[in-house]
């Protein structure tokens, strides 16, 4: 016979599922939320107004409709968002036929699963906090299904909290010691990573200025030694060689250019970077990297690429030198590539460059930079649109632009003047967080600069933006722009207190990222190595894990099983002490023996104490049973018990 559950249990179920739904509110289309809420309300009305339960044939069209809706919204059943929506709406539809314990348990377990799915969308501290209430409520609902009688709300709520709290130690052990297998086990659904932002592999006007409006963190960098000056913080990303109209792209890997020669001097800069996922290959490094993480590879132009797109936050250590010489010799192919410009474009620029023909390469650079310095070029996030001959338009007409404009126009100028040049994209600068002693680099710090090749010197970094707006390079983007520009609030220089609060919050977040979210197979090994002094292999890890779990469970069961103490009132306390004293003489009251009866018996054994014993029993009785015992009785009792002690000793 099926086990039907009562209204009270249903209310708990509906409440906990409602909270699960609320926790997922940002991840679901509106109609799914509305439909789920409707089904839940419907189920409640069935119970409250004794409506009939819908029949299976009535539910079938609804199910079909939902499937069509899902296909229509998500173009199919697959992918993270579609499966979640399907799961949520089916779970709430299941409520409409939920009557027996079997249905309840199914729905609750599904509810737990949905809470786990929260983290597919994001894993911030906020999401972590949001996951707690549904877990407590689902557990409380589960507790209610196991009880034959209705208990108070507090009872199941309290017990659920207790159970979850008691579960925390073993959870921590598992979290730290359960061997982490590097994922993914199979391909990720398409839309798992679509929300990531970062540097693209090509440069167009607007790319970087768009990025600059995003205050999301690109990466955090922690230095072993002193942090280099802001104007040395060029975080190297993709290097762009190829120009086509207004679009600059990387050199094709197929060309197979040889690795440029790098000689370094000065002190190495050692640092660790926690890179936010951006779904691309590049690992940002300070100019110029010498050691790179394992599995990563170095391109010929010293970009560092990971072996697969960065989809999870990753941490790597690297070493760079800021005094270097790169690519002192330039092959013909490289020369060809680094001088390539589209023919027949930007006639004014070509005209201008012709006047520089007699100058040396270094002077050509200066001439170009002077152009930016002396004319009224202006650094802004909102440059006007440019016509087809964009370099002409920018240099001679609008004169307003962002780093990408300066970098591209500069490289164009150089190439037109027969100086090999290329664009480097990446980030520049960063914000120091004193709370964690690390540097925060945001998407708003995205930057583009130029590298020109000079005989004997090799590739030399030239940042034309510095010519227009030295503040950008010295102090960061917030100094370079007027506050009217659309910088994200965190990148601006006003509101110092807000900034301070933000920095505090960011250091918490950084710790969270490093230790909670970033705790992967590598970090696990490192951490255990640090903890134990030597590395643990998989087997040892499992043994340690089991041993610690057993230990915690034994301890927990000890606390669970030990007898609850009954609370004694002061008279009972004194009396218990007195009984303990008498125990030494072998006298012990039976559980059913009243105080006076026991006193009579005790008096027979200890005739010289008779009066005292009887008086103690009388006072104890009066304290325990009279309407309002006189307060002095307690003292009298204590006194007599004390006297007795002296005499027996």
């Amino acid at each position: 016979m099926p086990h039907y559950l009562n209204v009270y249990q249903l209310k708990w179920l509906l409440l906990s599922l409602a909270v699960v739904l609320v926790s997922h509110v940002a991840n679901l289309p509106v109609w799914v939320i509305a439909a789920s809420a409707t089904f839940g309300t419907w189920r409640y009305c069935i119970e409250k107004y004794q409506w009939p339960m819908p029949k299976a044939w009535q539910l079938l069209p609804i199910t079909l409709l939902i499937c069509i809706g899902i296909i229509f919204t998500f173009k199919g059943f697959f992918g993270r968002d579609a499966s979640l929506s399907l799961l949520v709406v089916m779970c709430s539809l299941k409520l409409l036929e939920t009557k027996t314990l079997r249905d309840y348990m199914l729905v609750i377990v599904l509810g737990y699963f949905l809470v786990g799915n929260l983290f597919l969308f994001n894993q911030t501290i906020a999401t972590f906090l949001v996951s707690i209430p549904p877990l407590i409520l689902l557990t409380a609902t589960l507790i209610n299904t196991s009880l034959p009688t209705i208990q108070s709300i507090q009872f199941s709520f309290k017990l659920a909290c207790q159970l979850l709290l008691q579960a925390v130690p073993v959870m921590l052990i598992l979290f730290v010691l359960f061997p982490r297998i590097p994922g993914p086990l199979w391909g990720l659904p398409q839309n798992a990573n679509n929300a990531m932002s970062g540097l693209g592999d090509s440069l167009q006007f607007g790319n970087i200025s768009n990025l600059t409006k995003n205050s999301a963190i690109a990466f955090r960098a922690q230095f072993k030694g002193a942090i280099p000056a802001n104007n040395q913080l060029y975080w190297r990303g993709p290097v762009l060689w190829h120009q086509k109209n207004q679009n600059w792209t990387m050199s094709s890997a197929k060309i197979g250019l040889p690795l440029e020669k790098l000689t370094v001097q000065g002190a190495p800069i050692q640092y660790a970077i926690t890179l936010e996922p951006h779904n691309r290959l590049w690992l940002l490094m300070l100019d110029m990297p010498t050691t790179i993480p394992q599995k990563a590879k170095l391109t010929h132009d010293y970009s560092v690429l990971a072996d697969r797109p960065v989809r999870t936050r990753m941490r790597y250590e690297a070493t760079s030198f800021n005094q270097y010489q790169l690519g002192t010799s330039l092959s013909e192919r490289e020369k060809l590539l680094s001088l390539q410009i589209n023919e027949g474009e930007n006639p004014k620029t070509i005209e201008l460059v012709k006047t520089w023909e007699h100058l040396s390469a270094a002077d050509k650079i200066n001439a170009a930079l002077n152009l930016y310095r002396q004319q009224d070029f202006f650094y802004t996030l909102q440059p006007p649109r440019l016509s087809k001959n964009s370099v002409d338009d920018f240099l001679f007409n609008t004169k307003r632009g962002f780093c990408e404009h300066y970098a591209t126009s500069f490289v164009y100028l150089m190439r037109a003047a027969s100086v090999p040049a290329r664009i480097v994209t990446g980030y520049q600068g960063g914000e120091f967080n004193p709370n964690g002693n690390y540097l925060i680099v945001r998407q708003s710090d995205a930057h583009a600069w130029a590298e020109v090749w000079l005989q004997d010197k090799g590739w030399v970094r030239v940042d034309p933006t510095a010519a227009v707006s030295p503040e950008r390079i010295e102090f960061g983007i917030s100094e370079a722009l007027s506050n009217t520009d659309e910088l994200p609030i965190m990148a601006r220089k006003d509101y110092p207190w807000l900034k301070k609060a933000y920095l505090n919050w960011d250091s918490v977040n950084n710790g969270w990222n490093q230790w909670v979210l970033g705790y992967d197979d590598k970090k696990q090994l490192d951490f255990l190595k640090k903890l134990t002094g030597k590395g643990l292999n998989l087997q040892e890890m499992l043994i340690w894990m089991m041993a610690m779990i057993v230990l915690v469970m034994v301890a927990t069961s000890y606390f669970l099983i030990k007898q609850n103490k009954t609370k004694l009132n002061p008279a009972q306390h004194l009396y218990a002490r007195y009984l303990n004293q008498l125990k030494r003489t072998g006298l012990e009251p039976r559980s059913s023996e009243a105080a006076l009866d026991f006193a009579q018996r005790a008096a027979a054994v200890l005739p010289n104490q008779k009066q005292l014993i009887i008086e103690i029993a009388q006072r104890y009785n009066a304290l325990m049973y009279s309407a309002s015992p006189k307060p002095e009785l307690l003292d009298e009792l204590a006194q007599r018990i004390k006297q007795l002690k002296i005499k027996t000793l």
Binding site: H3, V109, G116, L120, L135, L142, S557, Q563
Partner: protein
């Protein structure tokens, strides 16, 4: 309200039962110790485990640290629930109080008194003999609760109770803990009364004790007492009264009314049929408030009509070899 629990399917098999540690006691009280409690996941527990595996695989695949957190927290919750389920049963004291005698074929409730000895409330405890699950109740801290556990009977006589199973799924319904208790308590099962009523047997047997109903109570002179207002004049002992001051009333003792003898010899058929027939007579005689005696091959019960006499008669019939 019964819940079918899959572990019990295994319990029904004899080979499995011999491996069970059973709480046996020579008295009618048993205390469950930690080793006598068994625990297995329920099918919901298995479903929960499958859900956890799905979460774990998802967390590995997407490298979700917080996915691991939820997975491990819920796994640990199941683990803790196991301790709680076990603790809900351990150190319970189970005493058989009584089982009212019953006629074979009828069901009776064996009353168990289950009490907490550790000053903590126990929830959702179910007590049952293996074949039928029943009544789920809570027990307050340091208190006891009566569990009437239904028992089906088929044969007359004194029967030792079958094994009692105590179980609980508190707090999460994910785990099923149980303990098996055996004790020497015996239930008295009266014979099944026959459906036939043979009227001749209900007539008064004049061959024994003989005499009319009328003066039965006047048979033996028992003494005198002072005359009391209301005493029958015919009983005044005038002779004795004349010797002294005041009146005396004669006192007599006797059965006062006629006795009905229910005799083994008066029944026909094989042994069980005879017992069954006699049982029916005893029931009917008691119901019609007759005074009756019982004659069995090995025992004779003197006539009476009290409740205890009734039970004595039925017991004698139940125990007849």
């Amino acid at each position: 309200m019964s819940v079918k629990l899959w572990p019990l399917i295994f319990l029904k098999r004899a080979w499995w039962q011999q491996w069970l540690r059973v709480s046996k006691s020579t008295q009618n009280i048993a205390l469950l110790n930690a080793r006598q409690i068994y625990i297995l996941p329920t099918r919901w527990g298995l479903l929960y485990a499958v859900m956890l595996i799905a979460l774990l695989i998802g967390s590995i695949n997407y490298s979700l640290s917080l996915g691991f957190y939820v997975t491990f927290l819920l796994a640990s919750l199941g683990n803790i629930a196991m301790l709680h389920t076990w603790r809900n049963l351990v150190h319970l004291q189970v005493a058989v109080l009584k089982a009212n005698p019953v006629f074979a074929g009828d069901g009776t409730d064996v009353i168990f008194n289950i009490s907490d000895t550790k000053n903590r409330p126990r929830y959702a405890i179910t007590a049952s003999f293996l074949e039928n699950n029943h009544l789920t109740q809570n027990i307050s801290a340091n208190d006891s609760q009566l569990f009437p556990v239904p028992l089906a009977t088929s044969k007359r006589g004194l029967h030792t109770l079958p094994r009692l199973t105590l179980n609980t799924q508190f707090p999460l319904n994910l785990l099923h803990a149980w303990a098996v208790i055996e004790n020497p308590f015996q239930v008295l099962v009266y014979p099944k009364p026959s459906d036939l009523i043979e009227p001749q047997a209900l007539s008064f047997d004049s061959s024994t004790q003989g005499g009319s109903q009328l003066n039965k109570g006047d048979e033996d002179f028992n003494g005198h007492k002072n005359y009391q207002f209301g005493d029958s004049p015919s009983r005044i002992d005038w002779k004795a009264s004349s010797r002294s001051i005041g009146l005396f009333t004669k006192l007599y003792s006797g059965t006062g009314s006629s006795a009905l003898w229910l005799d083994w010899e008066a029944t026909i058929g094989e042994k069980e049929a005879r017992i069954s027939q006699l049982t029916r007579w005893v029931i009917d005689a008691q119901a019609s408030q007759k005074i009756y005696g019982l004659k069995l091959p090995n025992i004779i019960l003197q006539p009476s009509n009290t409740e205890s006499h009734y039970h004595q008669a039925l017991t004698a019939l139940a125990m007849l070899d």
